[in-house]
């Protein structure tokens, strides 16, 4: 179903990123172009307590906020750094933002790393003197809103791996609807013993490297990130005279409604979100020049995503560049979709395709497909690109980004 009565265009004017391959846009972009892998044995958490103990950690020394306790509020510290970078990148003074400036945040588990100490002990031993022991994700949203001085809406999304992408999609809709002039949207996730334990128990974690779309892929590697973008309406962008990274051309959302863990093997729900995103952007499949895949590198997710892509893009899928940046960045759940929007925005602006590193042999049935293996591809002119986020539990969000020159 296409949207009606939408008149305002929405642009990405600022980016902020905290990731295992770089803190800050410059380092992040260099890492993407170099095919840098941010995944290794865990240092910040005791790796020996886990079955595998590998993942992508942030170099916290590179963070700028000295006013946040990293032990208690690691998510907030990451998110605050990324939001401040995004605002500065957009050339915005935080003290002069519009009254309705909105914050939309996605996170799968919020400050779970700290909650493990406050909720783990048996009931009789609970440390009741902790200021805010529960720490649901909306706590991060409200603290961020307060520290950034925003007074518009604050919205929190918790739909796992799609949360950050959905925050961006909904924030864009609020601008299109005239409910806000400007929004900061994205996602944040930190590594916790609980998340690593859980995904290791599910046998979803790779024993080697994360190798999306490879015949020998054996799972995800978890990571931590914060990724936020500044979104502004077209009139405001014109008035300010800024050159945006990209236009957020459309979004599509759906559910698999099949299984709590397994994706729909035929990719029907994902394909529905893809079709909706293209329709919302007013584009046909042949207008898309690149797909930043969800590409987790698990046995079941990758073929399901490729089935969805083939059902939408048809025979052209073989020539369509499709890459997964999770082999470099790991899977940071609620932050991943937002980080991948940033990657798409940088790809559009800089004219390159980020690689699927660690790729050796095509996934069975998809031989000859272009997974942008191992090395970034430079000098590429991109018009429209797609970013997929398909969450645990079957929540799908697809975003279409366009070069600002494309109308």
């Amino acid at each position: 179903m296409t949207r009606e009565a939408v008149t305002r265009e929405v642009y990405i004017t600022g980016l902020g990123i905290v990731s295992p391959i770089g803190v800050g846009q410059e380092d992040f972009l260099a890492g993407l172009r170099a095919g840098r892998c941010g995944l290794a044995g865990l240092q910040g958490l005791d790796a020996s307590q886990f079955r595998i103990g590998r993942g992508g950690e942030v170099d916290v020394e590179a963070l700028s906020n000295n006013d946040v306790d990293l032990t208690e509020e690691r998510c907030l510290a990451f998110a605050l750094h990324a939001c401040r970078e995004a605002l500065a990148d957009a050339g915005l003074d935080p003290a002069a933002l519009p009254e309705d400036a909105t914050l939309a945040l996605g996170s799968g588990s919020g400050e779970m790393r700290a909650s493990e100490a406050s909720l783990g002990p048996p009931e009789a031993e609970l440390p009741l003197d902790i200021t805010d022991p529960l720490r649901p994700p909306n706590t991060i949203t409200s603290k961020l809103t307060r520290r950034l001085g925003l007074r518009g809406r604050q919205i929190s999304f918790v739909n796992a791996c799609a949360a950050g992408a959905q925050a961006i999609a909904v924030a864009a809709d609020l601008i299109r609807a005239g409910r806000a002039e400007l929004a900061i949207a994205g996602g944040v996730e930190v590594l916790s013993r609980m998340s690593i334990s859980g995904f290791e128990a599910l046998r979803a974690v790779s024993h080697t490297d994360c190798r999306p779309f490879d015949a020998n892929r054996d799972g995800i590697l978890l990571s931590e990130m914060a990724a936020f973008v500044v979104l502004e309406g077209g009139e405001r962008v014109e008035r300010r005279g800024v050159r945006p990274y990209a236009r957020l051309a459309g979004s599509g959302v759906s559910a698999d409604a099949v299984h709590v863990v397994r994706p729909d093997g035929e990719g029907a729900g994902a394909a529905l979100a893809l079709r909706r995103a293209l329709a919302d952007a007013g584009l046909t499949p042949d207008a898309i020049d690149y797909v930043n895949a969800h590409g987790t590198g698990t046995a079941q997710n990758d073929p399901a995503e490729l089935a969805a892509l083939v059902s939408v893009f048809g025979p052209r899928t073989r020539e369509l560049p499709i890459s997964s940046t999770k082999a470099m960045l790991g899977h940071a759940f609620g932050a991943s979709g937002a980080a991948e929007v940033i990657i798409c925005a940088l790809a559009l602006k800089e004219g390159f395709l980020p690689p699927t590193i660690g790729w050796r042999q095509a996934i069975e049935g998809y031989e000859g497909f272009d997974f942008v293996p191992n090395e970034a591809r430079e000098g590429v002119r991109l018009r429209h690109v797609v970013s997929n986020s398909f969450a645990f539990g079957g929540n799908n969000v697809v975003l279409v980004l366009s070069s600002p020159e494309q109308t």
């Binding site: 009565a5 994700p137 909306n138 949203t141 409200s142 925003l150 929190s156 918790v158 739909n159 859980g198």
Partner: protein
């Protein structure tokens, strides 16, 4: 925004301390019955933690998918299904590609999270059980509801934000012709202990928590009429603002009510309803201490009309429903309006973290 696309409510579903289906809930609201709070099952005997529990816990049994079914998922499925049944939307058969789901929950499956963390505490990360981990994922109750009810349309899981603005926009903008929207919360012993400690630390009397889920079906009026469904009420407009907080308490410290006033004015403007057109207001606050700012805002928005407004206080009847609170207030207001022959009301919601949402609601003649 397409102002011509009218959005109506065609289904209601609720499990709460006041009633575990819409008819019993509505009857209790109309009678002004208050639920009784008691110790939360599982709480330590020497430290009874009070909570408004479901009036009929057995109502969950038909929806529990297994011996250890995660209770928030079961609550959400039961309430959403009741709403869909009333709306005449079949939850069996082919997937419903054009029916979306928006669910709000603050703490999510907190009992499962606490159980998993306690296991981590005692036995370490290698002892994790996959099925129990799946239960801890915050979007799992909504995902389970979507799977059980075959909802394949746009789905969003909110963590402490009103579900109705997003659902309304999705329907108005044509992303979906129908959205099942609401929220749920199922309190767990540790979260209750913490909540009480936080409340005590604030130095004020605060409302007790409630276990509940409340959902409605929203669709365009045209779509409802085409398929022969009965529009029960219309959502005319919504307004939102925020008063960001440093800790996650579902009440406002905005004593002058500036944020509430902003949200209410925005909602009235979007609904094109003058203050004179509103007869009732459902308050977001749950007790005297929390009400001050909201009442100040009402005086500012309604002026001399304030004294003639009927003020509804749903949380005083059944406690603070957190993720379910906005839905409980909306449904309680519907029950009140229907019983008293009134038509237009404002429904305020205050989410933990500081987000305020105000809805303008009109009951349609049957």
């Amino acid at each position: 925004m397409n102002a011509n696309r009218r959005v109506v409510i065609t289904g209601r579903g609720v499990l709460s301390p006041l009633g575990c289906d819409w008819p019993s809930f509505a009857a209790a609201v109309r009678a002004g019955d208050a639920a009784s709070a008691g110790p939360l099952p599982g709480a330590l005997l020497d430290d009874p933690i009070l909570c408004y529990c479901l009036s009929n816990p057995e109502a969950l049994a038909p929806f529990a998918s297994g011996r250890e079914a995660e209770p928030l998922s079961t609550l959400a499925i039961a309430a959403a299904k009741e709403a869909m049944d009333e709306a005449g939307i079949a939850s069996e058969g082919s997937p419903l590609d054009d029916v979306g789901l928006v669910m709000n929950t603050v703490f999510g499956p907190s009992a499962a999270v606490e159980e998993y963390l306690e296991q981590l505490w005692f036995r370490g990360p290698r002892a994790g059980r996959p099925s129990r981990f799946v239960d801890t994922v915050l979007n799992m109750p909504a995902s389970r509801a979507g799977i059980a009810l075959r909802l394949r349309g746009s789905t969003a899981v909110l963590g402490g934000s009103s579900p109705f603005e997003l659902a309304l926009d999705w329907v108005r903008f044509g992303r979906e012709h129908t959205v099942v929207a609401g929220g749920g919360e199922y309190q767990s012993p540790k979260s209750m202990r913490y909540y009480r400690a936080l409340a005590a630390g604030s130095g004020a009397e605060r409302a007790l928590l409630a276990q509940a889920a409340a959902f409605i079906v929203l669709e365009t009026r045209d779509h409802a009429e085409e398929r022969g469904a009965t529009p029960l009420a219309e959502l005319l407009g919504v307004g939102a603002a925020s008063e960001p907080q440093e800790i996650s308490l579902p009440w406002s410290d905005d004593e002058e009510g500036c944020v509430f006033a902003c949200a209410m004015r925005n909602a009235l403007a979007e609904a094109a309803v003058a203050p004179e057109g509103v007869s009732s207001v459902a308050l977001a606050a749950g007790d005297d201490a929390a009400e001050a700012g909201e009442l100040a805002a009402l005086r500012a928005v309604f002026g001399a009309r304030f004294d003639s407004l009927t003020l509804l206080r749903p949380k005083r009847l059944m406690g603070e429903g957190l993720g379910a609170a906005a839905g409980l207030s909306l449904l309680a207001t519907l029950a009140w309006l229907e019983a008293n022959g009134e038509t237009v009301a404002l429904v305020n919601a205050f989410e933990s973290g500081g987000a305020v949402t105000s809805l303008v609601l009109r009951v349609l003649p049957s």
